[in-house]
């Protein structure tokens, strides 16, 4: 007990800064603010760090230093300082929003969801946090959650094109093309901005209206060729149209701008694998899997790559991972069954065959009937 009391006194003494130190810290902090306002990020960083050397638990300096690091693109340092700031003042939701944004930027999406959810508990009307939360869910492929958040933002701010854009994109991702079409038609048709053309193109791509998708995406490219995902989507439209040469060019263009684009990595890897360029394909597919370690399509592509290289055991392992994560992934089961047959693992093969037959039957049952038909079906195979 005595030891605890002594420790507490020592901590209190350590925390009590000398007046000179406080004055120095204030001066450094003011210099930091001035530098930051001037856009001198390096000067601001040095000043805030100096302020913190004098008074280490200054909330404002920690928070501002986090912002400076974020502006410098150093999100790891930004996160560190935001978290230190929040350790001092946990109720500062603006800082927590910045922390969530930093996690979003670094694609630590689970952490982003955690922090943004906390912001919304305290400030349910914070639409910026809700938009970011919706986008985080979208990136995590949690589309129902994403749509719920983005719909709430759209209801609160129907004039917010960014929110509508995000919601439209989420609808497309979820296959809710009727809702996407209605929203996008209302807000974006006729707008001559790169973003408007991109989302129109995305909608057409989702609807497999490939010539229209290519037309819109090409228009977006003419206005702003550096728009994220633009080349990736245009590449996909070309790929599904069968224009593999153009698809390759667009995927490569996306990867120059945005090397972490999952679709560009995965689909370019797919094309190159089919073309027999296995080493190049392997690098891309491995990067795709790094970006989305749970992505079964990437596992499946890598399995086919391993199969093409004669690495049957590795192919089996990758496919087993894919079907463990996505038990309804029929093509992966098919490839797995074939390999089991090849390896004379007949019991495994027959078990997998039964799974395939069950999945095929279930898929058939899910087909619409005349009564449920909403006539959204497109004639393409």
């Amino acid at each position: 007990m005595f030891a605890y009391v002594v420790l507490g006194l020592l901590l209190a003494l350590w925390q009590a800064q000398s007046p000179d130190a406080v004055r120095q810290s204030e001066a450094d902090f003011a210099r930091g603010v001035e530098s930051q306002q001037r856009g001198d990020l390096e000067g601001a960083r040095a000043a805030y760090e100096a302020a913190l050397r004098a008074v280490p638990r200054r909330f404002d300096a920690l928070s501002n230093l986090g912002v400076v690091y974020a502006r410098m693109g150093n999100y790891a340092q930004a996160i560190k300082h935001y978290e230190q700031a929040l350790a001092v003042e946990p109720q500062q939701h603006a800082v927590r929003l910045n922390l969530g944004l930093a996690y979003y930027k670094t694609e630590e999406l689970g952490a982003a969801v955690r922090e943004l959810s906390k912001v919304l508990v305290a400030a349910p009307d914070n639409q910026q946090a809700r938009l970011l939360l919706g986008l985080s869910y979208f990136q995590l492929d949690k589309l129902p959650e994403a749509i719920a958040e983005l719909e709430a933002v759209y209801r609160a701010r129907p004039e917010d094109l960014a929110a509508a854009y995000a919601l439209g994109t989420a609808y497309i991702g979820a296959g809710r093309t009727d809702e996407a079409g209605a929203l996008i038609d209302k807000l974006f048709r006729g707008l001559d901005s790169a973003e408007a053309h991109l989302i129109m193109g995305s909608l057409h791509l989702a609807l497999k209206e490939l010539p229209k998708a290519i037309e819109e995406l090409t228009a977006a490219k003419a206005l702003n060729p550096r728009l994220p995902t633009l080349h990736s989507q245009l590449g996909s439209a070309h790929l599904f149209s069968g224009n593999r040469e153009e698809a390759v060019k667009e995927f490569q263009a996306e990867l120059e701008i945005n090397p972490r684009d999952f679709n560009a990595n995965a689909r370019l890897g797919w094309v190159l694998r089919e073309d027999g360029r296995l080493d190049e394909a392997a690098a891309l597919l491995k990067r795709a899997l790094e970006l989305k370690p749970d992505d079964t399509a990437a596992l499946y592509q890598l399995a086919q790559l391993a199969q093409a290289r004669g690495q049957t055991a590795e192919a089996v392992e990758l496919l087993e991972r894919a079907v463990a994560r996505q038990p309804e992934f029929t093509p992966a089961h098919v490839l797995l069954a074939r390999l089991y047959y090849k390896l004379k693992r007949n019991a495994d093969a027959e078990r997998t065959r039964a799974v395939i037959e069950r999945l095929n039957a279930e898929q058939q049952k899910r087909q619409p009937t005349p009564e449920t038909r909403r006539s959204e079906e497109r004639p393409r195979r």
Binding site: S241, A332, P370, R380, R381
Partner: protein, 565 residues
């Protein structure tokens, strides 16, 4: 003098597992390429035009038909042509009666429609046709598949046919597509396999509400249906053995079917294409039982593990290794597959040059045949997209598509379409496709049936510059037509073999005769026919550039129709 040697059954069984042949040596190519010349309706007299019944509702049967057959209904040694049309159905009432056509071969390059007189004008929403002498009376009968009622026409031998469908017991309601006559139980009688397509419901419509347009539904939305196998009882009637044979256990969305022997056990197997479902390979296990092994054998799904839209199929030993290889055509971007037999009931997909040439095509009728009589099977592909509005969705995929001709080089297939005639530079909504030597000049001609358009008759020009021998196999113990027979011949020191398949292509039936390409060899050094019954006939001193009738166990009979060079 022609001689025949008959061997015992035990010898034949040993031989059936020893089909490996000598090294393949391609003959020098002919001086000019073989071409297919379009025979215009004015020249052929074939004025009939297919009606596809296309409606704004886009009922799926409208776009699937129709088929055609080369067969010799009057036994005059000249193949005639049967063409299938649409007709009344639960979604279509023709404004004027529609008829199938039976074009009698006038033996001068022209044809005359005798369908009404022969009593084979149909009256159903027809799909395909399969000719076969099911009652063994020496006259080819005709089975017509339909969306609705199928029809079995018995050839009376006097130029007329009788509808014996009900009496024969092969009524099969629903939607039937391809049919194959073959003797699955080796009893010397022709049995019948009938592909069933989907459980169609005309109330199911597909389209785009936003645009207010209807499109042809992808068959995925319809439930599969089991195909049917009918056993010939030998008294003019059939027993439905679909359940006991195992065929019923694999409901599909089946189009093309071919009977062949993929495991060289002497029993005919069935390769069946399915649309939006895995293909079936029914291996005949004997005792009237089939086992579906498509997944294990590698022919059910694409290389990526996805079901495709299989339509036309065929089988042949394209690489001359003594094992039957398989081909299936799919819809655009799914790629067509050439499955090389690995001799262990597995196949590897090795399409070679065929893949890039067909990436944007959708294949229906197709056939392996030796178009240049050099002895090996070449490949003809007839194409067309099922969706007439596909061009609104893709800039590269067209509704009407070109024909393709691939020559067997001995190492694979080479696209020779550009050198094969003007017809290959035009586009068609091709569906059925049948092959036969309608002018008896010793090279194989082609007829393509086009959806909603006139058929295209293509006369082979130049195939008979190489020498040839035509065989009309007349079975005595084997089933009529001798499907399953293995023909081995040597000419110019080169040994070759061919298994006589049944069916193949799409909605079609083919000239039952076999033309053996001899290349530049002036004589046939030896001919051996291993009949499905097990009997082996060996023949020597055969003529060339003519057709001969070979009777099982008796050898060469009097010459059939022959034109010679």
């Amino acid at each position: 003098m022609r001689r025949i040697v008959t061997f015992s059954l035990s010898f034949v069984i040993v031989c059936s597992h020893a089909r490996a042949l000598g090294a393949w040596q391609p003959p020098p190519p002919p001086a000019a390429p073989v071409t297919f010349e379009e025979v215009t309706p004015a020249a052929s007299g074939i004025k009939w035009v297919h009606t596809n019944a296309r409606s704004s509702e886009r009922y799926l049967p409208e776009t699937v038909g129709a088929g055609a057959a080369f067969f010799d209904y009057d036994n005059d040694g000249w193949v005639d042509i049967y063409l299938v049309n649409s007709g009344p159905s639960d979604f279509y009432k023709p404004p004027t009666p529609l008829k199938n056509a039976l074009y009698r071969n006038n033996r001068d390059g022209t044809f005359a429609d005798v369908a009404d007189k022969a009593g084979v004008a149909g009256g159903t929403f027809g799909m395909g046709a399969a000719a076969g002498d099911y009652d063994g009376d020496g006259w080819q009968d005709l089975f017509v598949t339909s969306y609705g009622r199928n029809i079995l026409y018995r050839n009376r031998g006097d130029g007329t046919f009788a509808d014996v469908t009900e009496r024969a017991g092969i009524t099969s309601p629903g939607w039937s597509t391809c049919a194959v006559w073959f003797d699955y139980d080796a009893d010397g009688r022709l049995d019948l396999f009938v592909s069933s397509f989907v459980q169609y419901n005309k109330e199911m419509s597909c389209g785009n509400n936003r645009l207010g347009l209807k499109y042809y539904c992808i068959p995925r939305v319809f439930k599969p249906a089991p195909s049917q196998l009918f056993r010939n009882r030998g008294d003019g009637t059939f027993t439905d053995v679909s359940r006991t044979s195992g065929i019923f256990n694999s409901p599909g969305k089946s189009f093309g079917a071919v009977a062949t022997d993929v495991n060289n056990d002497g029993l005919p197997d069935l390769f069946v294409a399915n649309d939006t479902m895995p293909n079936f390979l029914f291996v005949n296990r004997g005792g009237g039982k089939f086992e579906e092994v498509g997944l294990a054998s590698g022919v059910a799904y694409s290389e990526a593990g996805s079901p495709r839209s299989g339509m036309g199929v065929d089988a042949a030993d394209f690489d001359g290794d003594g094992w039957q290889d398989l081909f299936v055509a799919n819809i655009d971007q799914e790629l067509f597959s050439l499955y090389r037999n690995q001799k262990d009931l597995t196949f590897t997909d090795e399409p070679g040059e065929i893949a890039p040439a067909t990436r944007f095509l959708s294949g229906w009728g197709l056939k392996f045949f030796d178009y240049d009589n050099d002895g090996d099977p070449d490949l003809f592909l007839a194409n067309g997209h099922p969706d007439d509005m596909v061009e609104t969705l893709s800039s590269r995929v067209k509704y009407r598509e070109p024909l393709l001709m691939f020559e067997n080089t001995g190492k694979g297939y080479r696209n020779v379409s550009a050198q094969s005639g003007a017809a290959f530079s035009r586009d068609y909504a091709a569906r059925g496709m049948t092959v036969g030597d309608y002018d008896n000049d010793g090279d194989i001609d082609v007829l393509v049936s086009n959806n909603g358009a006139a058929p295209l008759l293509l006369r082979n020009e130049g195939g008979s510059r190489h020498n040839w021998l035509g065989l009309h196999l007349v079975a005595t113990r084997s089933s009529p037509g001798a499907a399953g027979a293995v023909i081995r011949w040597s000419a110019g020191g080169v040994k070759r073999a061919r298994l006589k398949t049944s069916g193949g292509s799409y909605l079609a039936s083919h000239d039952p005769r076999e033309v053996l390409g001899l290349g530049r060899a002036a004589a046939v050094e030896g001919l051996e026919i291993q009949w499905p019954s097990g009997r082996v006939d060996r023949l020597k001193d055969l003529p060339v550039n003519t057709y001969v009738r070979v009777v099982e166990g008796e050898g060469v009979a009097k010459p059939a129709a022959a034109a010679g060079k």
